[in-house]
Each structure stands twice: as structure tokens, then as C-alpha cells.
Symmetry: C2
């Protein structure tokens, strides 16, 4: 019951740029001018109430944009689930992913190897939860973007924290390395082994432990899938404070372990603020119970914070207590075309001012992203071809007020030429359709061949400069250089695609991209984390003393280094 | 320019409870019925727009409530600044605060004592910033609530992080204990020495380093006074994400060190979410630079989190980067009288639902709090005497929409008997007046003699039970037992006043209050922290393994234990 008003997907378009700049621009659907007599009335002459909710907000898009009417939902709203992913990536003809240890200069540390006795011990700890079948081990050894592959021979599927504790106690004693794994949707190779680390999967730890219907505090096991939690709390009139394209697969434990940002970060902030408590099993099997469900608790150091974003290197998260915001009564999504990046930026500051507290997402993508989403996933663009697209979401408690705010904003954005074309949705199916265009970019990119992925925090004014720079730098050596991301958070996803991995292309990209980012005081990993892939570039964003303190914390919490080795910490130390 | 509409303070009141329960209640000012013909029209018959902003919202309170008209501002809005406090507490006749080391069973650890050579070294590091005058050292040796007193002989006033670094390097080498001090408004005795620790004051580290007018990211030195920062960012159309009664004195560094909650927590969340970066000087003088100003940065462990709420025991915070929300265009405050605590709770859930995203504070106080504020500070109550009072603040981007939401809510609250009397303000002076009633409770209590302070997180349903319980338990042995606080966050301030400190009264309160709290899975320190006062009660809210990990972190970051000894960590370890 997220959406109260059932308004058909609305489409609108600015008049041609030839109108005299000072005359107030009229609103028009462009493609169906006859249907809207008010379109020819100058905006300034319309009464405010009318302007605030112009007629095009309530009209369906005509002809060529039929793909976004409800009937076409199948091609749009498909969640990115494990099946969706495997379907695309393990298709016949997809080349085998090379072994990480063969492609990268990395040496196995002197951990023990799993013996028959170990397997017997595991079988006693998690009866029926010890996977050694090579076939079944293929997928959990390969990362989501299919560029890294480990060679683990054992995957364990505990159901309880106590089982995790017993497993780790055994591994600690036996000096066996362990790779915690949630939904295996991580982007930096943190979730899969580099050599033969035991994969410790949270897939069967998927129970909701409690939900408080007044405060909205959810306590659950770490292996709950984000989308399932979303459904659970939405039925109770709350929402999860985070949302991401990988929601159909990723686990809440994985989200916390990576300090995932995602699509609601702009509104609900970081997991460092919304996670209220954690239960964590430490490397030696000790269960650390910080699973409080209190909004405030200043009884000493906030230990749980250590584990948020530690990517399985300091402990295994077994349960999460998280604060869920009330479900907004009205959600609106506007999908807009912008003529340039300067206009994207101006649209952002205008909309921050005019939408205020109801703004819940501000995402952007460039023209190439749209082309790839259309080509590979057969989604249809709901707006005219534009250099940039912006997705704006509002979430509020009063549909009328929200529509009025959004209406005024859109009117202003169209009238001032910031936006040239747009469409709006309020009912859930169509909202999902529009979101799919943005959420499924990563999936579309993965169909291109090899993807070089960069996830940068940059001053918002410079956000797109690096895309233009890299595009010029690589020229025809890359298939595509694209930019998209969470503009509202200053977070760019710069992606470069090529037929296959090539060391020379990599050499042209790195360290260039990192140096460029460091010059802007940016972050070389905004939200995806470090994992295996980024561990040697931390120095671009963190001073040596910080890296040293990270090492000291690792040594304190995991003295034998058995938890997710080769990840998150710089390799030279 | 925070307030756009200048509407006089409005007063309203529910009809007598005799009205038949099912008939929609009419709205009435009670005291001036003739002025409002619509008051006799049943609410259900009024058109929605009219209901949403009933006339009483815009009327001034009559006769006896004249104290809250603008002219009476002097007696209301006075900020709690250093002068206000000293004026009240060091008044002639105020008894000398006993030395902490004499009242409590605590032994000095084997730190060095400050020598002439040390003083000479400090003078070289901070020329003109070494205070040894006994007179000048009196105030910084006593805590805000005047129940603890240290005997430090040296206070240092550095201006830069480098100076702090040199001071700590010297102290570390010489094994001298150091007590970081901000505004000295802390409630748990963390900010003042127990013995002769050197006081390291941030008072001269009060520079804004940068402010980004698009993102709202403020970077400043740790000694900036919260209220001054508020003014600074408000002039630039932003607000600080936190606000507290102590704003006129407390430093942002102290706020971060205590992980202060305060009055905006409900809306903008914890400092763990809003603090983006910190610069910290570690015990050995190393400067740890985590002063990024990026909304997202997942390059490894989020080290700054360690220091948020660590109360000066792990490092000295020298600079803070913090995300400021845009200044709301409209702020409304409603001050309401409720007939019982059940109605307070119902008012809260109703207002969460009806005010949604614009709700920015929900505070409550009981009748005794109001009596004390009226008696000691000569503030006037703006509403009829009630068992409970509630202060609701909304902050939004559209004054009309907000007034409509608040109007509907108030109408419902009055109509259903949740609220019996109320007043509302939108202009800044009157908003401040209403806030003063809530913010200055701590000050009023401190005029009562000795105050036993408890700051508890509890399930909101049980929040007031402990007050009733303690009141019954103590009977005439206490002067007053009061309850107030941040109800929206489940945070109760339970305060007990007596003429003077008495071990037997303490014995009746402790461990009873802590045990009661632990039984509710609450926190024995919601926002005030641990300091000296609460260090031996942590076990009520944290398991042994967590306490052990705290000790390990302390040993890692401050192996000699020179930073704020006798604080935050349990004494027995
Ligand atoms: C289509 C798509 C869209 C995405 N969008 C976003 C986005 O918008 N924002 C964003 O931040 N990220 C995004 N991601 C990446 C993001 O990191 C992951 O989707 C998610 O947070 C990881 O969860 P997971 O359960 O899949 O963890 P995994 O991938 O299984 O693991 C990730 C890391 O966490 C560790 N880990 C997992 N579970 C635990 C545990 N219980 N205890 C300790 N360590 C654990 C692993 O060892 C690994 O280091 C996206 C990924 C995809 C595929
Ligand atoms: C009237 C009043 C109202 C209050 N209301 C609230 C409230 O609503 N919410 C709330 O949470 N608290 C409240 N408090 C208490 C609160 O803890 C403090 O007001 C504030 O956060 C402390 O800031 P300060 O600068 O005064 O720190 P101090 O009192 O000087 O120090 C507090 C602690 O932090 C340490 N510290 C200070 N500065 C630094 C630094 N730069 N680096 C490292 N450590 C440092 C000190 O060693 C000490 O342990 C209130 C206090 C008063 C007097």
C-alpha cells in the first residue's frame, strides 16, 4: 500500500529551445499537443494550484513510449536476482573466468588446507550444511561481474550464530582461512576466495528475529535477502533504510559488511547511522553481542561501528538490528532528460531547494548508459534521447502536498530549460519501471564483455569531468566509457567496457583514474569497498597512519589473519 | 531568514471532557469563545482546507498567558551560556563542591606530576597558553552540575592541531595524564580531572576551516562553540544537524567526543551518520587525518567512528567535518498539555503518522519539571497546568503545507482528547521561548541542590514507569523525582533532587535504577556517555566480551593510559 493515488504514467516535454528566453515556457507533451489545451497558455498566467499539478502529470505517454505502459512491465521491472544474473553470465559461449591467483601476482599465505578430519568436524557442526560438490562450488567461487575466480573446495551453510562460532573456533585452531559470503553481489571481489579459503555462506541464516511495529526496529539474521526484508517491513508500513539494484540477491549482512550506500542514502543516510546493533562472531569464535535495538546507547565505545564496512575481515556478522523509516504514503518518480551536465547539476540544486524534505533520490546516467540498457536488456527509454538523464524520487506523507511540490519543481525545470523532456510515475509498477532503467545499468554493462569499474566520490561539480577525460584518453581502445550514479551523494560510477581484459587498457586507466580522484580529494571507493580489487589503491584516499591503524585493528581482532585474507588491507603489509 | 511567516503565537484548548465521545469535537480557544464562530461547527462538517489551518493557530493567547507575548521575551529565551551557568552556580552561599578523590573511592594511578621543566616545555609549545593561576583553574576543575571537583594545576590552551600534537608527545614521553576539555557541559564528569590531570582545553581552537555552500559540509576546529557554528551555517542557509540546551557553551569536539544526541536527533540522526571526517591527535602525538568531507568513503575501516563517543579516552579530536542539512523554510513549534502518559504516547504515534517527514522533534516533560522551570527561572507556562507537556517541532520547505499538516494533526489531537490545551509558534522569538521551557530544565534542576541524574534508553511504552516507581520508592526522602526527555528517541532523563548528596539516597537509587533498566533491555546511558560517573555500571548494558574489547582498543590506542584516565572504562580492569 505504498502508493495511494493511481495516476497513469505521465509524460511531458519542454518546448523547443527557440522560444524567446524571457517568455515563460509552456508545458507540452510534444507528441500529443491536441490533447492538452492548457499547454498553450503561458505558465505564468495559470493559477498556482493548476500549475502545481499540471495536466501532463496524469496522462499516459503516447505511441512510441508504449513500452512503459503497464502491459509492458515484463521487459522492465525484473529484479536483479540470482537467476537473472546467472542467466546472463553463464550463458553458453561465455568464456570461463580465469583464476584470480593466475591473473594477479598474489601468493597464498601459509594457512592449512582442509583435511578429511576438518570436513568431518564441519559435518558435526552443521549437519547437511557442508558443500563439497565441485559443480555446486562453481558459482560461489566467481564474483558477480565475472572477472575473478577462486578455488575453494568447501562451502559451509550454518543456520545459527552458535554454528558460526563453532566453525570459526575450529578454523582458528586449525589455521584455516575463511571467506564470509552473503549474496555474492559485491563489486570488488571481497566475497569470493582468492585461493582455497573456506566459503562461509549466510544463505541459511535468513530469519527475522523481531520487529517492533511502533519504532520500526527490525532485528534479523545476517543472511536475510534485502528484498525479502523490504517486503516484510513494507507489509508492516515501514521501509528498509537502504535499497540497491542487487536487492534481490544481496544479504543484509553483506550490506552491512560493505557499508552499502545505494539508492536511499541521500534521504536516510549511512548504515553507520541506521544500524542500531550487530551480533558478530570474532575470528576465534567468540560471539560479540552488540545487538541492542535502542536508538541511543552511549555506554562506551560503539563497537559495532568497527564491523560496518569491514568486509568480513574483522568478524562475521550474524545478526543485524536496523532502524526502518515509516513507509511513505506517496512515492513519485520523475525521469528527465537534460541537455548537458551543467543542467544536471542545476536541476539537482533546484530540486533540493524546491523538494526539500521529500526528496528521496537523485540519480543520473549518461546517454551511453541508456543505449546499453535499451540494447542489452530491451528496456525502452521513456523520454527523448538526451545527453543525460536524471531520476528523481520523492517520498512523503501527503500525496497532494508532494504532487504540488514536484509539480512546481518540474514546471520550473522545464520552463528554465534545465530539463527538455520527462515522464512521471506514482503507481508502484511504473515507479519500478523507471527505477529499472537506473538499477539495471550494471547488468547491462556486464553484457558488454570485460568491465573496468570505478566507484568514486568526487566534488559534485567535477563529477563528470573524469568520464570525459577518460573517454578522450582511451579513444577507440575502449568499447564504452560511461558515467552514472548517485549524484545526490557525489558518487560516480565510472565504467569502461572492452571485449576482454587487457593489461594495456588497465595501464591506461590506472593509476590515472586514482591520481585524478586524489587530486580532487575524492575517494577511490565511495560505496563498493575495497575487497581484493582495491586493496592497493587505498593510499590515494587514506594517509599512511590510517592504513597502519587499520592493520593494528586487524591484528587485534584477527591475529592469525584467517578472516578474508588478501582483502581490504594493503597487500604489502 | 528561518521563518517566513510571522504569525503571532497561537493558543488553543480542547473542550471539556464532557462532550459525547463519538461526536466530533469542536475547536475552541476556551478563553475567548466569542471570537471564533467556527468553533461551534462540528469538525467533520468543515471543509478540509479550513480545518487544516484553524483560526486559533493564528491568535494570541489572552490575559494570563501574556508572559509569552514578544514583550516578555527577556524572561524566556536566554541561552544557556557559560555566564548563565556561572551566575547561578558560583553565587555567594553556594557550597564548595567536594573533591572527587575525597568523596569517591578512587586511587591515583602512577602518572608523573607536572614539573617546572614541563611547564617550560608547554610554554614553548603554546606561548601564552599555559594557565596555572589557581583562581583561573577553579571553574575548569568543577563539572557543570557541580558535584565533582578535580585538582588540576595546569590548563593548556593550544590553537592548532600541531600544538596539540606536541603537547601529547611531551605528555606521552613524560607519562603525564591529560584531560581533554571542551565546553565543560558534560553530565557524567568526563570533562574534569579526578586528580591532577593536565586540562587540555579546545577553547582557542575555534576556527571554521571551510564551508561548502552546495553540499552543506562544514569543516572546523574542535573548539568551535555549537551555537556559533549554528549561526555561521544559518547565515548560509543550513543548520547544524544537532542542537542541545548546552549549545551556548559546548564545543563541537565535545559533542563528537560524547556522541551527543540532543534535540534534532529524531530528524537528523546520530553523529555516527552526520560526522563525515575527523582529525584526531593520538596519545603519542601522532596526527590521524581522517578529515575527509565526502558523503561516502568506503576505503577501508571507518576509523573516525572509533572516536565518536570515546570521551577523550582514545584521542583528542582537533577538527570535525560534518554534514549540515538545509535550513528549513518553515519551523513550527506546538507546546501541548496532555492528561496522562498514555496520551503522550498516543500523541507521538499520531504525530509520526500525520506529520511524517516534517516532524523534527518530539520532547516531553512532566508537571514537576514545569513547576521547577517556572519557580527557578521565572518562565511562564504557556498552557494550562497538565500532568504532562509535549513539545512538537516541525521543519519543512513549504510553510503552507506544513501548517496544513500540523493543523490537521492538532485538530485530531484536540478532538480525540489526546491533548487538552496547547499553543503554537512559528516566528523565531516565540519558537525559542517555547523551546526554553524544555531546554532549561537541567538548569532549573541544578538550583534545587544536589541532582542525581539518569539518562536512560527504554522501550517507549515503559518510559515513564521508572519515574513513578522511583517516586514511590523514595517518598519524602527526595525533594523531587522528575522525568523529561527526548521521547521520540526513547530517551528519558530521570532526575532526583535533594538538598545535598546523601549516600543513603544514592543507595536507594542504585543499583535499582540500573537493574530496572537492564530488565527492559535498555541503556544506562542513552546520550550523556560514561565519564567518571557511569564507568562501573556499563555491565548493565554491555556484555563482558564487549567491555573486554573496549579495554583492548584502549590499550591499542593509548598504551600508557594517559588520555582521560578514570573515565569511560570500568575501574576494575
Ligand atoms: C546490480 C548491483 C547493484 C549494486 N548497487 C549497489 C549500490 O547501489 N550501492 C552499493 O553500495 N553497492 C551496490 N552493489 C554492490 C554491493 O556491495 C552489494 O550489492 C552488497 O552490499 C553486498 O551484499 P552481498 O550480500 O551480496 O555481499 P557479498 O558480495 O557476498 O560480500 C561482500 C563483502 O562482504 C563480506 N560479507 C558478506 N556477508 C558478510 C557477513 N555476514 N559478515 C561479514 N562479512 C560479510 C564478504 O566477505 C565480502 O567482503 C551492487 C551490486 C550489484 C550486483
Ligand atoms: C543544559 C545542558 C543540556 C544538555 N543537553 C544535552 C542533550 O540534549 N543531549 C546530549 O547528548 N547531551 C546534552 N548535554 C550533555 C552533553 O554531553 C554536552 O553538553 C556536550 O556534548 C559536551 O560538549 P562539551 O564541549 O561541553 O564537552 P565537555 O563537557 O568539555 O567534555 C565532555 C567529554 O568529551 C571529552 N572531550 C571534549 N572535547 C574533546 C575533544 N576535542 N577531543 C576529545 N575528547 C573531548 C571530555 O574529555 C569529556 O570526556 C547537556 C548538557 C547541559 C549542561
Amino acid at each position: 500500500m505504498c502508493i495511494k493515488r493511481e495516476i497513469p504514467l505521465g509524460h511531458f516535454q519542454a518546448r523547443s529551445q527557440q522560444l524567446p528566453a524571457l517568455a515563460p515556457r509552456a508545458l507540452s507533451t510534444g507528441l500529443a499537443p491536441k490533447e492538452e489545451p492548457e499547454a498553450s497558455v503561458p505558465a505564468a498566467m495559470l493559477p498556482r494550484q493548476l500549475l502545481a499539478r499540471p495536466a501532463w502529470l496524469f496522462r499516459c505517454p503516447p505511441g512510441p513510449r508504449g513500452a512503459c505502459v503497464p502491459g509492458a512491465a515484463g521487459s522492465w521491472g525484473r529484479p536483479v536476482g540470482p537467476l537473472a544474473r546467472r542467466g546472463c553470465c553463464s550463458a553458453p559461449g561465455t568464456p570461463e573466468v580465469p583464476l584470480t591467483r593466475e591473473r594477479y601476482p598474489v601468493r597464498r599465505l601459509p594457512f592449512s588446507t582442509v583435511s578429511e578430519q576438518d570436513l568431518a568436524a564441519f559435518e558435526r557442526i552443521v549437519p547437511g550444511g557442508v558443500v563439497t560438490d565441485p559443480e555446486a562450488l562453481q558459482a560461489p567461487n566467481v564474483d558477480w561481474i565475472r572477472t575473478l575466480r577462486g578455488s575453494s573446495k568447501v562451502l559451509l551453510r550454518p543456520r545459527t550464530s552458535e554454528e558460526v562460532s563453532h566453525i570459526l573456533r575450529h578454523c582458528h585452531e586449525r589455521n584455516l582461512a575463511v571467506n564470509p559470503q552473503g549474496g555474492n553481489t559485491g563489486m570488488v571481489g571481497g566475497s569470493i576466495p582468492v585461493f582455497d579459503e573456506i566459503i562461509l555462506s549466510t544463505a541459511r541464516m535468513n530469519k527475522v528475529l523481531s520487529f517492533h511495529s511502533v519504532s520500526g526496529i527490525l532485528v534479523c539474521q545476517a543472511g536475510c535477502v534485502l528484498e525479502e526484508l523490504s517486503h516484510y517491513v513494507e507489509e508492516r508500513d515501514f521501509i528498509m533504510p537502504l535499497d540497491l539494484g542487487a536487492k534481490g540477491s544481496c544479504h543484509i549482512g553483506g550490506n552491512v559488511a560493505t557499508n552499502a550506500g545505494g539508492l536511499r542514502f541521500l534521504r536516510y543516510g549511512s548504515l553507520h547511522g541506521t544500524v542500531l546493533g550487530l551480533e558478530v562472531v570474532l575470528a576465534d569464535g567468540t560471539i560479540l553481542d552488540c545487538l541492542t535495538s535502542l536508538r541511543k546507547d552511549n555506554t562506551g565505545y560503539d563497537l559495532k561501528q568497527l564491523f560496518i564496512g569491514s568486509e568480513g575481515t574483522l568478524g562475521v556478522i550474524t545478526a543485524v538490528s536496523i532502524l526502518c523509516p515509516p513507509k511513505p504514503r506517496a512515492v513519485n518518480v520523475a525521469f528527465l532528460g537534460c541537455p548537458g551536465f551543467a543542467e544536471v547539476l542545476q536541476t539537482f540544486s533546484t530540486c533540493k531547494g524546491m523538494l526539500g524534505e521529500i526528496l528521496s533520490a537523485f540519480e543520473f546516467m549518461d546517454a551511453v548508459c541508456m543505449q546499453l540498457v535499451v540494447r542489452h536488456l530491451h528496456l525502452a527509454s521513456p523520454v527523448q534521447e538526451s545527453p543525460f538523464y536524471v531520476l528523481i524520487e520523492t517520498s512523503g506523507s501527503n500525496a497532494g502536498h508532494d504532487a504540488e511540490k514536484l509539480g512546481s519543481f518540474l514546471e520550473h525545470a522545464l520552463g528554465s530549460g534545465l530539463v527538455t523532456d520527462g515522464t512521471m510515475a506514482t503507481d508502484q509498477t511504473k515507479v519500478k519501471m523507471l527505477w529499472a532503467l537506473r538499477e539495471r545499468i550494471a547488468e547491462a554493462l556486464s553484457r558488454e564483455g570485460y568491465v573496468y569499474k570505478y566507484d568514486l566520490s568526487l566534488p559534485v561539480e567535477r563529477l563528470y569531468d573524469i568520464v570525459t577525460d577518460v573517454r578522450a584518453r582511451l579513444g577507440p581502445h575502449a568499447k564504452h566509457v560511461v558515467g552514472y550514479g548517485h549524484l545526490g551523494d557525489g558518487n560516480l560510477h565510472l565504467n569502461v567496457t572492452a571485449e576482454a581484459f587487457s593489461p594495456s587498457l588497465l595501464g591506461a586507466l590506472e593509476p590515472h583514474v586514482y591520481e585524478w580522484t586524489a587530486r580532487q580529494q575524492g575517494s577511490v571507493s565511495a560505496e563498493h569497498g575495497v575487497g581484493f580489487r582495491k586493496r592497493d589503491v587505498l593510499g590515494y584516499s587514506k594517509p599512511p597512519k590510517a592504513l597502519q591503524l587499520m592493520q593494528q585493528l586487524k591484528a587485534l581482532l584477527d591475529p592469525k589473519g584467517i578472516l578474508n585474507p588478501y582483502k581490504t588491507l594493503p597487500s604489502q603489509a
